[in-house]
Amino acid sequence: MQSNVQQFPPFREAAAPHGHDDHGHHEHAEPGFWQQYVFSTDHKVIGIQYGLVSLSFMLFGFFLMLLMRWQIAHPGVPVPVLGPLLEKVLGQPAAHGAISPDLYNSFGAMHGTIMVFLGVVPLAFAAFGNYVTPLMIGAPDMAFPKLNMASFHVFFLGGVVMLVSFFIPGGAAQAGWTAYSPLATTIPTNGQAFWLVGMVLLITSSLLGAVNFIATIIQLRAPGMTWMRMPFFVWAQFVTAFILLLAFPPLEAAGVLQLMDNVAHTSFFLPTGLAVGGQLADVSGGGSPLLWQHLFWFLGHPEVYVLILPAMGIVAEIVANNTRKPLWGYKSLVYSALFVGFLSFIVWAHHMYLTGMGQKIATFFQTTTMIISVPSVIILTCLFLSLWGGSIRINTPMLFALGFLPMFGIGGLTGLPLGLAAADLYLHDTYYVIAHFHYVVAPGTIFALFAGVYFWFPKMTGRKMNEFWGRVHFWCSFTFMNVVFMPMFAQGIKGMLRRMSDGGVNYSAARVPNAIDALPGTVMQLNGWILWAAIALGIAQLPFIINLFWSIRHGEKVDNNPWQATTLDWQTPTPPPHGNFAHEPHTVRGPYEYSAPGHATDFTPQDEPAAGAAPKNKTEHH
């Protein structure tokens, strides 16, 4: 039995099991282009919209990073190939095709902002969450479809505002993605105001999304889909949604206050006696720069778990599916995710040990930070143990999922020294932090997201992505990611500061030979290696981009459940029609019934009637 749902008449005549519609959307009357692809309220279309837009933003953020890496490796040297274009588009800040320190700061701030708020979060939470969550819980759509559409449009608008800010006089925001005051208010560009307006839009979007997700998961679970029968992916999205719901508003509050500082010239974050350019600033003063940091990191830290939890959810699904056995410690995973979600709200000030906020507060946050590593380790351990004794099927999604495990492990473990104030005081402003954070998010989360794209692509299109090029994509990305980020640990430990536009040249032994602890030539040389590895990493994404679009029409055709998975998202027609299910699915078992003894196949779908039970008349419930 391939799929239980197919025993019943199709939901609609038009909804053939193997659709030729590339975007998984069927209607009675053919809706127009705008109706179908832009103003759609179907969670699957919205998920794909989020996916494509956030992937594009990730590519854009990657290019910003490449330009920065060039500047770090070759400070002041005009950028090859792209230099003249930069000068033409951005003017003075990119004079002679070289990147000025101001422009470097802009790129740094916008790389962080775009990657986090316009790239990874929308892809991990909004795109996969939208497409997969309702399918997994057996719902016809999200609880509030129109709100869903609105949240995508607000997100898109926020992205546009961020992009536009590159082209205003003075350029985009330069105060880092953390936008610390008073720097964020005193830099003479309106980029920061654009950044804040963009952030308020993005926050609004994710609030609407979070409300929608939580309501959907609580209200629209299919009959029999009890809490402990939900796939771990759904749990991860559920916790993520709560984090977004409760952690983002304080940043919105902070954003409003900083916007007031920038536009209405208030002094929420500007201290008394603030001097700008050697002169006393014309502000009333009395504000607190530390307040901004508290409000920012109250979001900022939970945000890390917004980045990582959906990734763990994706990896869990793929690991269970490809080891062909139940996840090890499903309940531990669920409770750990809930515990992480709760604890993530009381660890934020471990980003602020350097601010001099006091030993007692630092002690509290060191303690909570060490505690939060426990559930994270439990999750990772459960995923590792799930591999034990499985007959592992290696395919592209599984490769990326397997790559995620050690990469996230490195990212997590190197975070421990940063959680302790004594070590953090030295490491905090160095490349060590960059390396740590990127190991968590780049080869960590982003690998999981790639895994998800390869995994659910057949559900979205009815075709598989090319396996060979998928593996090329994986092995090249895996190699170059590590060549990019591993040397940064060494640079950081040697004391290379992380926000310098010259890549540390002014602190190098070559420039200041007599200085104590000047950066040795070997450490400076790594900048060159990282640049070339980053370029190679960019080239390694080409197979993915081509594969993604080529496979929509030319990939290998597959049936509804090509991975032979148990969860409900695979028990629908492919691509799922509007309304998703031919019949409301009735869940009768847990999410990972793989290799059940005595069963004909090595997987038992969640909605397959229990053996011996008479076939139910599914219509009686409606």
């Binding site: 609880a143 009333s284 307040l291």
Partner: protein, 267 residues
């Protein structure tokens, strides 16, 4: 395709979708205003001694506004109750009152804002401070070119600190009269807008954000009272739910004011 539990409660959760949605939204609103109130606390605690203003706001107007919102909470509840017993006429009356009360609130709020924006503090070249409401500026008044005069209704003090606590006996006893000041004698002039000091900044921001919530809530209630009330004929149960959900939001906005009023007006 139909989404379940848009009107009826889901049996095991005992709630319909929109009601759950609004409660979740309100949870995020609690965090939003929670962040702002925390900012207020930190800024006030960190203020220089003697530099946090007291008695700058009109307690009478604040009390009236508090009562207006309290009344509107009652009419909102009655409007929903009227829907529950299927009395459309009463619904119209009660929510009509809600809208009028809300608009009166916003009217009083704008008057208070206006009062602050025409209130000037002028640092004089002799080191003293003139403080009062603007009566008039001479036609040729230009601060940069140092020509013309400005007339305030207020008083002149030696030290800015005297302007901070308006509830003190000295401040109560101060005599207010029309003062005309030449532009040449002015070192710095500014109104009591958001940039005046931390208190006006947080006052305008908090009450402004709250007023936006009032405005948004009023628009939604007005829509359900006017054009949106057509749903009463086709689906009264769903319409009643809408009134309940918008009412929940309205009660939250009232509740925020219950915190704002003592924090800003009474301390």
């Amino acid at each position: 395709m139909e989404i379940p539990y848009t009107v009826q409660n889901r049996p095991d959760t005992g709630i319909y979708n929109a009601k759950l949605g609004i409660w979740l939204f309100l949870a995020s609103e609690v965090m939003l205003f929670g962040g702002l109130f925390s900012a207020y606390v930190l800024l006030r605690v960190g203020a220089e001694p003697g530099m946090w203003p007291h008695g700058w706001l009109n307690v009478t107007l604040g009390t009236v506004n508090t009562l207006l919102l309290a009344l509107s909470a009652i009419t909102t509840l009655l409007a929903w109750a009227a829907c529950k017993v299927r009395d459309f006429g009463k619904f119209k009356i009660f929510h009509g009152c809600t809208i009028l009360l809300a608009l009166t609130f916003l009217g009083i709020k704008s008057y208070e804002y206006h009062d602050k924006l025409i209130h000037y503090e002028i640092a004089l070249t002799n080191g003293k401070f003139a403080d009062g409401h603007l009566v008039e500026k001479s036609k040729d008044f230009d601060l940069l070119k140092k020509i013309g005069t400005v007339t305030l209704h207020g008083h002149i003090v030696e030290d800015r600190r005297e302007l901070m606590d308006l509830r003190s006996p000295e401040a109560q006893a101060a005599k207010h009269e029309d003062i005309t000041i030449a532009a040449a004698d002015i070192k710095k002039m500014g109104n009591y807008g958001p940039r005046h000091n931390t208190f006006t900044a947080i006052y305008f921001t908090l009450t402004g954000l709250h007023a936006l919530h009032i405005l948004g809530g009023t628009l939604v209630i007005f829509y359900f009272w006017g054009p949106g009330s057509r749903m009463w004929k086709t689906d009264p149960e769903r319409f009643t739910n809408r009134i309940e959900v918008s009412g929940l939001f309205w009660h939250f906005v009232d509740l925020v004011w219950i915190f704002l009023f003592p924090v800003l007006y009474l301390t």
